[in-house]
């Protein structure tokens, strides 16, 4: 009897692991994917070696590709956790660049 109960427990645990993984990937894809694209749009707008207006437009045009790539990565990563932390890190780097650049150069 305990064998069957153990089997049921194991199955329940596996189902919960799958659900957590799906939830984390969804979190990584939708809010985080958009956040990473937005933050890299900001960082690129500051970094691209051109005047402010064309840099702004170019960064905006590139941002949608970044967003699509982030969504694909959220499902390609080995695990849901990995998807979340790698995207959070990618967004954090862009946020750091943007913050440092605005602190140093200000905005128009």
């Amino acid at each position: 009897m305990s064998g069957i109960a153990g089997e049921v427990d194991r199955r329940t645990a596996a189902r919960w692991r799958r659900r957590t993984d799906s939830g984390l990937r969804l979190l990584a894809a939708v809010p985080l994917g958009y956040a990473v694209a937005s933050l890299w749009a900001m960082a690129l707008a500051r970094l691209l070696p051109m005047p402010a207006a064309p840099a702004t437009i170019t960064a905006t045009l590139i941002a949608f590709a970044v967003c699509a790539a982030a969504v694909m990565w959220a499902y390609a990563a080995r695990s849901g956790w990995r998807a979340v932390w790698t995207l959070a890190l990618a967004g954090g780097i862009a946020a750091g660049i943007t913050w440092a650049s605005i602190a140093a150069g200000g905005r128009l």
Partner: protein
């Protein structure tokens, strides 16, 4: 590589399914919107053709001068032979008493025909499809655009993951296995997707760009504390005119347009008259987007005496790219041939989305443990497919019929036409929920085919002027609308017949030859 492809296949299936229904109606509306002006004319059949645009412009100017002589600004869309007349829109002088109250656009908008009077038939015309394509209906515009933007991003993801998932993209390009169930649907989906792949990628990415000011304002925020500075770069304009209060005769718009066409190197698309009838009046012309891929035409401004006072600065590479992406999406730069190509590609995209939605059910049906009792989720998807893929076209057919049958003097006529679209679509939705999907497909596809065929017959026999007059006068823009509807009716009727005559193969034979135990529902979960 296998793991990557597998993960992307899952993403492809779910992003495609969840937004597929929204994408389908966006695709249908966008495809119809390539004939926006033709539909604007077709839905106002009694409106005379614009033979001489400058003459029509002068009549619209005279009408505006009677209706809104002291407006702050007039906006005039330059009439062309493709349009039913001159679209005019005006902004009244700011009223200090009404501060904070929002100005309602529909009270200050008119369509003036070539004879100089507002058009008789109140209708949204082809503009309905254009607005519905990104504003949807019955919901706040901002919500609609975020939903459309989200769906477009999922579409981009579905296209990219579709490419990754597709192992033999070139071999499958030449493969169409007919009458093979799931395999045929997959081949059909692949053919629609791969044939139009450059178009699908282009239209999806540029669609996101058209909404980028709302979806992706972050680059602007990073560089500008004052966002209006960026707007001034994107949409340069002359300094605002300040009213002097001294009356002056209206500038001769036709003469200014003739001069402007020479200076701008192409036809004029939009005319903006600030402070008309004042000595400070200013006329700004924008070059039509029919002449250039860049949707943002050069601009030139004149004072009340007709002297040039301002010209737009040359566009840099980034802004030109941005404008060209929007131009590529809207396809306004194209002539009739290119417009047909856009239209056919739009149909290809519509078929890609529709076949993908159907494929989802076909694929899962073959793996169901008990096909006579599919799980609830499966049944919902199956019926929603009928409600949207077959139901929305039926709603559009009802919209066209309402345009023909509602009396010209009925109050709120234009909105009632739209209400009929949604009422018919709603009824179609109820039918698809009530009956078995197979009967739903046949009833709705067949019903739409009958409605469209009858509409073309109505246009040919009862409508005056109608189809016969258009063909006799060589007015192919209008005749083509009826001919396309007739072709659609034929295709829908053929499809309905195929569904009605379809006999599913007996599954037990397959199961026996495979000699495999029945698939458990639990194993179905990671379905790809």
């Amino acid at each position: 590589m296998k793991g990557f492809r597998q993960s992307q296949s899952t993403l492809h299936t779910w992003s495609g399914l969840l937004l597929g229904w929204v994408l389908f109606v966006i695709f249908v509306a966008g495809t119809a919107a390539y004939w926006r002006e033709a539909l604007n004319r077709w839905m106002r059949p009694e409106t005379p053709r614009v033979e001489r645009p400058l003459n029509a412009l002068a009549k619209a100017e005279a009408w505006l001068n009677r209706r809104a002589p002291d407006a702050k600004t007039w906006f005039i869309t330059m009439p062309t032979a493709e349009a039913p007349g001159t679209y005019v829109f005006w902004v009244p002088q700011p009223d200090p008493a009404a501060k904070g109250r929002r100005h309602r656009r529909r009270d200050t908008f008119a369509l003036i025909d070539a004879a100089g009077t507002p058009t008789a038939r109140d209708t949204r015309g082809g503009d309905f499809f254009y607005r519905f394509h990104f504003d949807l209906h019955y919901m706040p515009v901002i919500w609609a655009r975020w939903l459309v933007g989200f769906a477009a991003m999922m579409m981009l993801v579905a296209i990219l993951t579709g490419i990754v998932t597709h192992k033999k993209i070139f071999r499958d390009f030449f493969t169409l296995r007919r009458a093979k169930g799931q395999r045929s649907w997959l081949d059909g989906h692949n053919a629609a997707a791969v044939l139009g792949l450059p178009f699908h990628l282009m239209i999806t990415y540029t669609g996101l760009v058209t909404l980028s000011a709302m979806l992706m304002p972050w680059a602007t925020i990073a560089n500008y504390a004052d966002g209006t500075k960026m707007a001034a770069v994107m949409f340069p304009s002359a300094d605002e005119a300040t009213r002097t209060g001294t009356a002056a005769p209206l500038p001769d718009l036709a003469a200014i347009v003739r001069d402007g066409e020479r200076r701008l190197g192409g036809p004029v698309g939009y005319i903006e008259v600030a402070e008309p009838g004042d000595t400070a009046a200013r006329v700004t012309l924008t070059r039509a987007s029919s002449i250039s891929l860049n949707t943002y035409g050069d601009r030139v401004a004149y004072d009340a005496a007709g002297r040039v006072v301002w010209r737009s600065p040359p566009s840099d590479g980034a802004r030109t790219t941005y404008g060209a992406m929007i131009g590529l999406h809207a396809g306004r730069f194209g002539d009739a041939t290119l417009r047909w190509l856009y239209f056919l590609c739009g149909i290809g995209g519509t078929l890609m989305v529709a076949s993908g939605l159907v494929l989802w059910t076909v694929k899962r049906r073959e793996r169901l443990a008990d096909p006579s009792r599919p799980p609830l989720g499966f049944r919902v998807v199956e019926r929603l497919n009928v409600a949207v893929v077959a139901g929305f076209p039926l709603g559009c057919a009802a919209f066209f019929w309402a345009n023909r049958l509602i009396p010209l003097d009925a109050p709120g006529r234009g909105n009632r036409e739209v209400a009929y679209l949604f009422a018919a679509w709603g009824a179609a939705g109820l039918v698809s929920l009530a009956v078995r999907p197979r009967y739903g497909w046949v009833a709705l596809l067949g019903g739409t085919a009958a409605m469209l065929a009858a509409l073309v017959a109505y246009d040919a026999v009862l409508l005056r002027p109608g189809l016969a007059n258009w063909i006799a006068a060589g007015d192919w823009a209008l005749a083509s609308v009826d001919l396309v509807l007739l072709a659609l009716a034929a295709v829908l009727a053929w499809t309905a017949r195929r569904v009605a005559l379809y006999k599913p193969r007996v599954r037990t034979v397959r199961a026996a030859t495979r000699a495999r135990p029945a698939v458990l529902p639990a194993q179905l979960e990671p379905a790809e």
